[in-house]
Amino acid sequence: MSRPRYGAPEVLATFLLVALAVIVILPLVIPFLFVFKTQLEFAYHPWALPKQLKWSNFAESWNAVRIDQGLVNTLIVSAGAILFTLPPAALAGYVFARYRSRATELAFYAIMIGYFVPIQMVLVPIYKMEVTFALNDTLYGLFLPMAAFGIPFWTLIYRSFFRSLPVELAEAARIDGAGHSGTFFRVMLPLARPATILALLLVFIAAWSDYLLSLILLSDPRHFTMQLRVASFMNTYGPDRMPRYAAAAIISAAPTVLLYVIGHKWIIKGTLAGAVKE
């Protein structure tokens, strides 16, 4: 449809949408106005442009909750979650897509139970179990259950993805003499790369963002993930000293925002693939 010019309603609607978008993004922009000021400067001229760029607020909030330690922990947790979510989900999703029988359908529904069970329901038994096996307050004790909760969803996504690939490809591989596993690893899995990239991105974001499981399972502050440090910064230091608080907000939001700026098309596509599947 080619439209030669913008009509008045379109201009008005677009203007309103842009205004709304500015409001939506403002909470992420305003901290930059505060962060370079001293507490005194903020108290007298909160809305003026900063007189000089004062970087010490970043260092202060970074050191207050040891962001470096949090980054390392969270990266380990995210890597672990990816490593233990993707392979089981890809394998199971492949079987549910390509080896359909009454038994595999039944197995598929058994796994889908996990998609409908709220994490809150199983927190107590998981905590008790982790205490019994001394897994609580460790990073692998955190990413293992995280992976378990992610597997049903990604099995579903891999299943739809493998179903969308033409059957002939797998058949050709079989005729060439590839066995079941050869067909999967050498032909089908490489073809599923788009699904794998989505899973990498979204499992990473989910693990990075986790708050509830980390809160329950970790107790030693040295093991705290990024989000627990953000929370403890909020409770211990609070927004009374706004420039430092703004620095903490910028530091903690930056990784997600950067990842989003780079990959927002993928992120939105992947989220919709999960919601509008099949």
Binding site: L17, P125, W208, I216, M226, V230, H264
Partner: protein, 304 residues
Amino acid sequence: VSDRREKRGGRDGKRAVFIFLCVLPAFLFLAVFLYYPIEETFRISMTKSSGIGAEAFIGVDNYAKLFANEEFLAGLGHVFSWAFWSVLIQLPLSFVIAFSLTFYANRFTGPLKAVFYLSNVLPSAITAMMGKFIFAPKSGIIASLAGALGIKWLGAVDFLGNPKLAFWSVFLIATWAYTGFPIIYLMARIEQISKDVREAAELDGATGWRYAWSIVLPDLGYPLRILAVLSTVGSLKLFDLPNLMTTGGPGNATVTLGITLYRQGFVNWNYGKAAAIGVVIFVLSLAFTIVEFSLGRKKGGETA
């Protein structure tokens, strides 16, 4: 070639072994972290248990006590009104935005969509941090703006500390954070409506909001119902934002089922009661999931 020489039994055997080995890892994970814990939740919910000493079977005592517990009832009430207002406010809002974005598709549409979805990917701890940043007394955005503009009464409002306002302040932040998903979901659905339908509607004189109301909205019945159920189930599980922004307070003003579960289980170490709350959350979300599927079936071929 070698396939043909194999006996049929051998081939089926290999196939079965392959299937078994492929689903095994997923099932191991779910058995340890899901199936067993589900069974345990039901069992623990019928015991008096603190993790130390023996568990005592007490039947439905935990449940009976919960429904006489002020904090639990407050949590139950809050998640229901949270669900009600999410559906009533966030869904129409996201429909209006999604429709305008797709109806007036132009060079701004892509970037606007990306901006509206951005707050959805922020971790809840950071969303909460932004919430406090906006609402903090004296130093927050609203308070310092009110100060700069000389609006004294507004500067004195304690958005998170006033029991009458706290729920709505958290709700407003949640609206900021979670409306992006319904927007992109509805946009995807609206984009599926064919151009012919739109052109035919325009020929019939149904332009702008007439078109939205009489053509687009009826077509979105199913996705809107799915979104309604999703936000209801999401409300039942609500924990992060109120716990981070107000820890359920002041008093019980922003307590949710998730917060009472956390307090019972991991502050008071009363596992029995916490497990019972977990069962309540499960049963309620199961009920809504069943509703979701029966609504889906009515529309025929579509699956959730």
